[in-house]
């Protein structure tokens, strides 16, 4: 109860503190301000002096460490945790915007009940009833319970969910969301497994690299651990003795990574693997590069006709040869397989081919060929789209009595063809743990809002870790703003009623659970003698990590073969003349960022457009179809159609159109609702050849003018930046 009260004091005091003042800055001053001091002040609270707490960022699965600046008990700023070995004090745009996850006006306060799904008519119930309903349903459903989770879910929560499901003999949780799919997490991990023997996300060290070939890897914007790659890139650009690495980027569209690259090659969509194969071939046949490279290349290079490959990829052969030589000659050459390739039918082949380049250059990514120490901590394992499909099948077959959904938004993120919503209709009870009403919550019966990540405990075993294992700790930094409850505690409460679960989950609350988990951690970089101190330091430093080890990853590749597979695309060339290039927005990522005004209102780096979604076209395309900026286009694929505004840009291939993911929400709060369109609706539910990934990068589309037009909310002057001063 102190919590609740002291929270209100926080606000009041904050509102009254001489330094604050909403809109009071320059308007005539309010003469009488009420000062409400704390009833019981929290420890080391000094009014007007900032206190900092370390926790984990949950805006994407990377698990960066952040520190939160608190003034009078209100979180006012997020910064990267300078101690944290992953992001080293840095943070990306999405991380910076995290505070609005905490203070979002549309967050739910207390559990909600929806009588008829999709009606959006919720009735508030109190927590006891909510938890009770969950318990009843769980007891009734028995093993016919399923759980669908997202990659940003805390690992401890995953563990609790798994334990609960295991206790009722239900299949383990399915962890899947669009973000990891667009990042190709699962596919790449599998490829690494085939190449190096350990299926984990690769982490490429760029700091000392001479040459970096990035195959559609948007590693400076959204791919896996973008912040860490930013740090790496910074070092890469200013190496000792004025050395400055060479970055070559292969992608059909100019992403911000392509912009920063020294050499950008606009390759045909889905031809990343082909490029890599051709490079291998050239190195092998041309006997290029340092000693031994050609030999190992010969062992791996696929059999292909280089001229033809070059033609298919859209690179002049000379350029390809030049690049092959550069790569082969470089002492420290790195090839990065991006998320984009994982979405195309030949994803695994491409990943292997690209990884083969690393094998040739003798630079294995960190974290895939060294088995990390067992930390005794549970950690999420991502599932493939195939697993989701089987879940959907079970739902459709009525084998699922109750579906739990946490930190993922399938109703928005899954293509219509996956048939999730139809299957959902077969599930008697759907429970959503979303903090806000998102598209999925609209189709659920019971909402038990979880706290935002700045209000709750947890930990994240960082993946990809760059060499040495890292566990980021998560702790509440403010007293909860809304009457939400941590799902961990909810589950533990429910578990008490189920004997098997009670046995498997003996903790009285999640803090207790975490403490016991943390107690088992090996020695950390910081000193900690007693178990208590260990826990305290774990929270204080923002996680656990061993003293920096200098053991460079040793290369132990498994035998594997590289094949030159062509990517296949839905839709024939005549009806659907353009390739569709889908990419996660730098700001909105896969759409979870769309709820935050900070991310909506900040202009996208490439188009400077805010608040809207768009279709990127090549000027030639625009000329052919007589399209101007802002024309609303009907984009049709074999699987669906959306309407989006055109944005003409030279930064894309003439045969390709690009649409960012992230907009087109029907729900997810006032800032996301009804803006732009959701590109996922254009995708099919087909799988990739190998690895069971969603083939989201294998669709062709047609464009048609609707005749309508909207004003583009862009910051740039199109005339200015395109025609400029008009020197010819």
């Amino acid at each position: 109860m102190t919590e609740k009260i002291s929270r209100r004091d926080f606000l009041r005091l904050g509102a009254a503190g001489a330094a604050t003042g909403v809109l009071a800055g320059c308007t005539s001053p309010r003469r009488w301000v009420v000062l409400e001091p704390f009833v019981r002040p929290p420890e080391q609270q000094v009014s007007g002096v900032a206190t900092w707490f370390a926790t984990t960022c949950r805006q994407c699965p990377a698990g960066c460490g952040v520190i939160v600046r608190l003034m009078n008990g209100r979180a006012v700023k997020l910064e990267g945790n300078p101690e944290h070995p992953l992001n080293r004090g840095k943070l990306c745009a999405r991380g910076q915007a995290g505070l609005q996850m905490l203070y979002h006006p549309d967050r739910l306060s207390g559990p909600l009940l929806q009588s008829t799904r999709g009606s959006r008519e919720f009735s508030a119930i109190d927590w006891n009833e909510g938890i009770n309903r969950l318990f009843q349903a769980l007891a009734k459903a028995g093993p016919a319970v399923a759980m669908l989770g997202g990659a940003t879910m805390s690992d401890h929560l995953f563990d609790l969910f798994s334990k609960l499901l295991a206790a009722v003999d239900a299949p383990p949780p399915v962890i899947y969301d669009l973000y990891t799919e667009l990042g190709g997490y699962r596919t790449l991990a599998q490829a690494m497994g085939q190449v190096y023997g350990r299926a984990a996300l690769p982490a490429y060290r760029l700091a000392e690299a001479d040459v970096v070939f990035s195959f559609g890897a948007e590693f400076l914007g959204t791919w896996t651990s973008a912040v860490r790659y930013g740090v790496e890139y910074g070092a890469f650009r200013s190496q000792p003795y004025g050395k400055r690495g060479l970055l070559v980027h292969f992608e059909p569209r100019q992403s911000s990574t392509a912009v920063t690259a020294d050499d950008y090659v606009a390759i045909a969509p889905g031809s990343e693997g082909l490029v890599a194969g051709a490079l291998l071939r050239l190195i092998a046949d041309g006997n290029l590069g340092l000693a031994g490279r050609a030999e190992s290349a010969r062992g791996l290079a696929p059999s292909l006709d280089v001229e033809q490959a070059a033609r298919e990829c859209g690179i002049p052969l000379e350029a390809l040869q030049r690049l092959a030589r550069r790569f082969a000659d470089a002492e420290h050459a790195v090839a990065i397989p991006g998320g984009a390739l994982a979405g195309s039918s030949n994803g695994m082949h491409a990943a292997r081919a690209i990884e083969a380049l690393n094998v040739v250059s003798g630079n294995a990514p960190a974290g895939v060929n060294t088995t990390p120490p067992d930390l005794g901590l549970a950690r999420k394992s991502l599932n493939t789209f195939a697993d989701v499909q089987s879940l959907i099948a079970r739902m459709r077959a009525g084998e699922v009595q109750m579906l739990l959904i946490h930190s993922t938004n399938p109703a928005y993120e899954l293509p219509e063809a996956a048939g999730f919503l139809e299957a959902l209709a077969q599930v008697p009870l759907v429970v959503s743990f979303g903090a806000m009403v998102d598209e999925t919550a609209v189709w659920s019966d019971l909402i038990l809002p979880d706290r935002s990540y700045l209000e709750s405990f947890g930990y994240e075993v960082v993946s990809p870790d760059f060499g040495s294992p890292v566990v980021s700790s998560q702790q509440p930094v403010v007293t909860p703003v809304f009457d939400a409850r941590t799902t961990g505690d909810v589950l533990l409460t429910v578990a008490r009623g189920i004997p098997a679960a009670a046995a498997a989950m003996p903790w009285d609350d999640e803090v207790d659970y975490l403490n016991q988990m943390v107690a088992g951690l090996p020695e950390a970089a910081y000193p900690a003698s007693t178990a208590e101190e260990k826990r305290a330091r774990f929270q204080q430093h923002g996680g656990w990590w061993p003293a920096p080890a200098v053991a460079a990853p040793t290369l132990r590749p498994q035998p594997f073969t590289v094949t030159a597979e062509r990517a296949t695309f839905d839709g024939n060339e005549t009806d659907y003349p353009y390739f569709l290039h889908v990419y996660p927005s730098v700001l909105l990522s896969d759409g979870r960022g769309a709820s935050l005004p900070l991310l909506q209102g900040v202009p996208d780096p490439m188009t400077t457009i805010a608040w809207q979604s768009w279709v990127e076209l090549h000027p030639a395309t625009a000329e052919r179809l007589e399209i101007r900026d802002g024309d609303l286009l009907r984009v049709t694929s074999p699987h669906g159609e959306i309407v989006a505004a055109a944005y003409v840009t030279p930064g894309i291939r003439p045969d390709t159109v690009a649409i960012p993911a992230g907009q087109g929400h029907q729900d997810l709060g006032r800032f996301a609702r009804d803006r732009g369109s959701n590109v996922v609706q254009l995708l099919g539910a087909a799988l990739t050849d190998e690895g069971g990934g969603l083939r989201w990068n294998g669709v062709r589309v047609a464009l048609a003018r609707t005749g309508k037009r909207i004003a583009t909310a862009s910051l740039e002057s199109k005339v200015g930046v395109t025609e400029g001063l008009g020197y010819e």
């Binding site: 109860m1 102190t2 009260i5 209100r8 004091d9 009041r12 005091l13 009254a16 503190g17 001489a18 330094a19 604050t20 003042g21 009071a24 800055g25 320059c26 001053p29 003469r31 009488w32 301000v33 009420v34 000062l35 409400e36 001091p37 704390f38 009833v39 019981r40 002040p41 000094v46 009014s47 007007g48 002096v49």
Partner: protein, 181 residues
């Protein structure tokens, strides 16, 4: 007294109508000159708190306003801090009963602000007390002899500038950023 004043003014004007403009000018200028500063009027506090008693009882300012040395804001004592002493001391008195009630209800005491500066002014108690070497009473007056605390100075910009120009060890308030951010 006022009537005589009016009479004087009247005569002043009557003797030469032109003076009316002069007078009007003076009035307007004066009004504008004062307009920049907020003059706090008196108000009643939720609890009839008596600083005089506390000070005479030997309680130092910093005992309650204990952030003044380490923070821009002096800090208002928490209800808990008050109760620390008043659980026993003067527990019978009505004012203390009020306090106890607040504490029991776990409610903050809605004190009314006495010394006011606008919200776009950033004043640091820490700096003035340590580096500046000032004492509380330099600005807040002899609170020790106030039953009800009232501001002794209108804390306007002119007041700051004036003091800084007189004190030899005070820096010139030349760049606005020292107070306005």
């Amino acid at each position: 007294m006022f009537s005589s004043l009016w009479w004087r003014v009247g005569r002043f004007v009557r003797t030469s109508p032109a003076r009316l403009f002069l007078l009007a000018g003076v009035v307007v200028a004066g009004a504008l000159a004062l307009s920049g500063s907020a003059a706090p009027a008196g108000t009643t506090q939720p609890i009839a708190f008596n600083h005089q008693v506390m000070v005479q009882a030997g309680v130092q300012c910093l005992f309650c306003h204990n952030d003044a040395l380490r923070s821009p804001s002096p800090g208002m004592p928490s209800v808990e801090l008050c109760m620390g002493c008043h659980k026993t001391i003067g527990a019978g008195r009505p004012a203390i009963k009020q306090l106890a009630d607040y504490y029991a209800r776990g409610e903050p005491i809605p004190w009314a602000r006495v010394n006011y500066v606008p919200r776009f002014v950033y004043f640091s108690h820490k700096v003035h007390l340590t580096a500046g070497g000032l004492n509380c009473e330099n600005c807040h007056g002899d609170v020790g002899h106030m039953k009800v605390v009232e501001p002794v100075a209108r804390m306007s910009m002119g007041w700051c500038l004036d003091c800084h120009s007189k004190q030899t060890n005070a820096p010139q308030l030349r760049d606005c950023v020292i107070c306005h951010r």
